[in-house]
């Protein structure tokens, strides 16, 4: 059984330029796939296409089956049922992913209200959602505007929003790129724990091999909208086959060895 089955997905601009070219991948429940590639390789577009959220003027063809629903060409009404329930997204930039004029609590309440919660029940669920992402003082955070929180706190709120829908698949689009390194590690650990606990499938999009290696079991390497190589994280890191993957791994190692050298070994 698969949660997400992408077959031959092609995304074109209105002008006919191909941005994602014949991509296929599949995810079973509980599986974690890392989608890696440099900026412009089509990884974010792929994650948006999963929920039928491609920007205006871009068209997808091929097949994207999300928990048994064909997303490509589906009506907004049909998509609204799938979104959140079957898959939810955490975005890269937590400042723009939250409405600057809405208190955090109300934003988290949005998906919860859809599940039929209201009144004190809703309030309790909002606080529980904030506690789940290990935010201190959930009461205060619930009343805070995004600009009154730190970057890490904002990203936790965004994560709480995505998880509030209890999706079967969590799409994380570079969720830690905008954060500093220590916060990044904390958030990755949290994400890892929460997803493991719920046996959620994860599509983790990143340009950072080290980050992907921490969260994903399998990796798919994208270049210019085309799948270059796919395999187990360990295999990709230890024995990359394609030259592009080799270059990615080498540059990640280079950074790490710089750290080793400076620490006096």
């Amino acid at each position: 059984m698969t949660i997400l089955d992408i077959r031959d997905l092609t995304i074109r601009t209105a002008g006919g330029r191909v941005l994602v070219d014949g991509l296929s991948l599949s995810l079973a429940p509980g599986q974690r796939l890392g989608l890696i590639g440099e900026s412009g390789s089509g990884k974010s577009l792929t994650s948006l296409a999963v929920l039928g959220l491609l920007p205006e003027g871009m068209a997808a063809s091929g097949s994207v089956e999300l928990a048994g629903t064909q997303v490509v060409g589906a009506s907004e009404r049909r998509l609204a049922k799938v979104r959140g329930r079957d898959a939810a997204i955490v975005f890269q930039e937590p400042l723009t992913a939250l409405d600057p004029l809405m208190r955090a609590g109300r934003q988290i309440a949005e998906p919860l209200r859809r599940r039929g919660l209201s009144g004190t029940e809703l309030r309790r669920a909002v606080l529980a959602a904030l506690e789940r992402v290990l935010l201190p003082e959930p009461e205060r955070i619930a009343r805070a505007f995004p600009h009154e929180m730190s970057g890490g706190q904002r990203q936790r709120v965004a994560l709480a929003m995505a998880l509030a829908c209890e999706p079967k698949l969590l799409i994380a689009d570079e969720p830690t790129t905008a954060l500093d390194v220590t916060v990044q590690a904390e958030l990755l650990d949290l994400l890892d724990a929460l997803v493991r606990e719920r046996e959620m499938a994860v599509l983790f999009v990143s340009h950072d091999l080290a980050v992907v290696a921490k969260v994903a079991d399998r990796v798919l390497v994208l270049k210019d909208g085309r799948a270059v190589e796919e395999g187990d994280v360990r295999d990709i890191v230890t024995a990359p086959r394609e030259p592009y993957t080799r270059a990615l791994v080498a540059s990640a190692r280079q950074l790490e060895s710089a750290l080793d050298r400076r620490s006096g070994r």
Partner: protein, 287 residues
Amino acid sequence: MKRLPGQNPARGLTRSLTRSLTLTTGCLLAGAVGLLALVSLFWLPYASDDTSGGRLAAPGDGHLLGTDKLGRDLLTQLMTGSRIAVQAGLGSVLIAATVGVTLGVLAAFAQGWLDDTLSVLLDILIAFPTLLLAMLIVAARSATLESAVLAIGLAQSAVVGRLVRVLVKRVLAQDFITASRTSGTSWPRIVAGHILPNIWPTLVVNLALQFGLAVLAEAGLSYLGLGAPPPNASWGRMLQEAQATFTTAPAGALAPGILLVLLVIGVNLIADGLRDTLDPAARRRRA
């Protein structure tokens, strides 16, 4: 709320003082005219068609500001004029806001040919002279305050609509809209909950500016005889009627002119003050 490091408390204080100074001055100026208008609803020194004062009487002696060439009390006319000015401003802005926001939101959501059609429609409306539009409406109906307000409001809704379209498009491109859609929130809810609050600060400042412009436009139209009919004195018509006797009795032209300037400056100051208070970026800096 905690203060961000590096922020100078003294500077924040001066800033909030100047901000409130702008707002306060604006409210005082516009409020004075508003008060005149309000009083005119319940009490006037003379009836608006009372010509018993004698032609072009000097200020004082039963007529605080004197009379016009027909012997009507000038203060009475000024007060009626301020009522009409405030009505014109409010009415036009109400039309501009309703029609403009609706068209703007529609245009922002529309795609393909509908987007093009709406954009062209708004551009045509903006290019269309308000004066010509007013003449057409007056020809179709009659020269009343309502006709003038309708013309001004329609002309302004194009300006507001184009602004709203751009503002909404900018909000729509943000991730939090996508995040909200991901949560399965319906479009009407997104418009009411996310989009309108986010365009509100800019919109409200623009509407305040449109109020001032509408007051000026109404004065212009009634100067040309396209506004409220006699005996209702509008400032524009008072100016027109006092034109011939300006050298001998300047009060008839100066008084409505000064009030017009005060009201428009007051409203513009309010708009400036609102911009500083409502601007989310400024609010973020203060937080």
